[in-house]
């Protein structure tokens, strides 16, 4: 089998974070692939919830959109979009919200709205979708994106979804019912929040990656955990399942 790509390692590591039986609200793209990989590996009873209103979807391949017909066909329940946000997400029934991001800051706050000034943007991004309330209401949030100094910024151009806000207990003061981001998984390593400051620090490096790379790919002065670990490389089983999944045959 060929070497694992950086995206493949990121996806495998993200999948490992999901426990069995977890109820996971999945964004489209990499998070969806990771969640579906987890379901095929160690978490066969993970419940995937998509914002299209499909609860317990079991797609055979990563869907292109969150509204692909297969999600409805394989779901335990299909509810309306208003209901998925009110009765399911806002009510606190989601264990893990799995989000992507265009920009993230040291406290795990996310921008998916604009680069540059909101009214005269350099780049107009798609916007919020379900992310702000996933970030607010899920018991914890996993964030997944490729690490670069353009994405890991000192200050967001727009705060679309709140993570640990300004750090410390500032998130709690906003009255949010969900617990906030617990991990950021990148193509270089894994970041987790420090206990008191709630600032994300590097806690693991993927095979072949270096602290220097991680620091260079981060727009804020990235700190390294004293318990920095090395990521176990993807197993044959993980990699072959991921590839089969993406090919639509897993």
């Amino acid at each position: 089998m060929s070497e694992a790509s950086a995206d493949e390692i990121m996806t495998v590591v993200a999948a490992r974070e999901l426990k069995d039986r977890v109820v996971c609200f999945v964004g489209i793209g990499l998070p969806s692939t990771a969640a579906n990989l987890a379901r095929r590996m160690h978490a066969p009873n993970a419940v995937l919830v998509y914002e299209s209103g499909t609860i317990g979807a079991k797609p055979t391949r990563p869907p292109l959109s969150i509204g692909d017909g297969e999600l409805a066909d394989t779901a335990d329940a299909v509810v309306s979009v208003p209901e998925i946000f009110s009765y399911w997400l806002q009510a606190g029934r989601v264990d893990v919200g799995f989000l992507g991001a265009a920009q993230v800051d040291r406290f795990g706050n996310i921008n998916t709205t604009v680069v540059g000034d909101y009214r005269m943007p350099k780049v107009r991004l798609p916007g919020a979708g379900g992310a702000p309330e996933i970030a607010a209401s899920a018991k914890e949030t996993f964030i997944m994106l490729r690490q670069s100094s353009r994405a890991f910024v000192c200050e967001l151009d727009f705060c679309t979804s709140v993570g640990n806000h300004e750090g410390g207990d500032s998130r709690d003061a906003l009255g949010m019912t969900g617990g906030g981001p617990s991990v950021i998984i990148t193509d270089i390593g894994v970041l987790r929040p420090e206990a008191v400051t709630r600032e994300f620090v590097l806690t693991a490096l993927h095979p072949g990656r270096t602290e220097a790379e991680a620091i260079a790919a981060t727009g804020w002065p990235l700190r390294i955990s004293e318990q920095l670990t090395a990521t176990d490389p993807p197993t044959e089983a993980e990699l072959s399942t991921l590839r089969a999944l993406k090919a639509g045959v897993a």
Partner: protein
């Protein structure tokens, strides 16, 4: 009571310049045929409402129909950007586009309030985000029982709600199934509504999960494939290839314009791209 008419007549009767119009469908059942007919009829100054202004609104914005967009996620799902939307926001082409931006949960609460005859909806949302810096339609509201701070958003009340569904029966009752999105709310929050359907049947399919009685719908037009490149569950598949291809069509103004001219404007009948 819903009247069955042609797509052309439905749009010319119920859609006027300056209207607030919501074409809904959450990836599934997107009413592309109606959007194309609106482009053909040259409607202008529309306020377009939609949670996920994807390829359809990219086309309508690029064709110059829109003055304003009320939305919560403007991308090409699984593919990338909406280049016509970005061109309008970033460069004002073909005309400046005012935007009113929310989250999905906020838009859903706004539709529900509109369908419920309430002036506002309440949610746990937006706290700590930048939305309220740029969006007027977000306000704080205090629970009179617990003192908790929550967020209020005003009801959406479009002039016209537009959806595509699998079936209408002979009485004009609408039935759909699969991913439901906010189709029901788009019709029930609107003053008028247009529904395109795959077919008219004697009795609605037993798989129907959402029914809209005839008397809440203004016009029904039979447009098989009227959701393409979106899909109608059990009638068609999502044309993922078209969504991927859209990236290249929409990236360039001239490519888009000639595509729209060939595939929308010069088509006499809609329903097929």
């Amino acid at each position: 009571m819903a009247e069955v008419m042609s797509l052309t007549e439905a749009v010319s009767t119920f859609v006027s310049d300056g209207d607030i119009i919501a074409l809904e469908g959450f990836t599934h059942l997107i009413p592309f045929a109606v959007g194309h007919e609106i482009i053909r009829q040259g409607r202008r100054d529309l306020t377009l409402v939609r949670m996920t202004p994807d390829v359809l609104y990219d086309q309508m914005i690029g064709a110059g129909c829109a003055r304003k967009l009320i939305f919560s996620w403007g991308g090409n799902p699984g593919v990338g950007s909406l280049h016509r939307f970005r061109d309008a926001v970033e460069h004002g082409w073909p005309r400046p586009l005012e935007i009113e931006e929310h989250s999905h949960a906020g838009m859903a609460a706004r539709y529900v309030a509109g369908a419920s005859g309430l002036p506002f909806g309440v949610l746990r949302g937006y706290s700590g985000t930048s939305f309220a810096d740029y969006t007027d339609t977000i306000a704080e509201i205090i629970c009179p029982f617990t003192g908790e701070r929550l967020t209020a958003v005003p009801a959406l009340r479009p002039d016209v709600g537009v959806i595509h569904a699998q079936q209408a029966d002979r009485h004009g009752n609408i039935g759909l199934w699969g991913i439901q999105g906010v189709q029901k709310e788009a019709v029930l929050s609107a003053a008028r509504s247009i529904v395109t359907v795959e077919e008219i049947v004697d009795v609605l399919d037993s798989r129907v999960t959402v029914t809209l009685p005839s008397w809440v719908v203004s016009a029904i037009a039979v447009v098989p494939g009227g959701a393409h490149p979106s899909y109608a569950h059990d009638y068609s598949e999502r044309d993922n290839g078209f969504y991927v291809a859209w990236e290249e069509i929409a990236r360039d103004r001239e490519t888009f314009t000639s595509w729209a001219d060939e595939f929308i404007v010069r088509r006499q009948s809609a329903g097929v791209l």
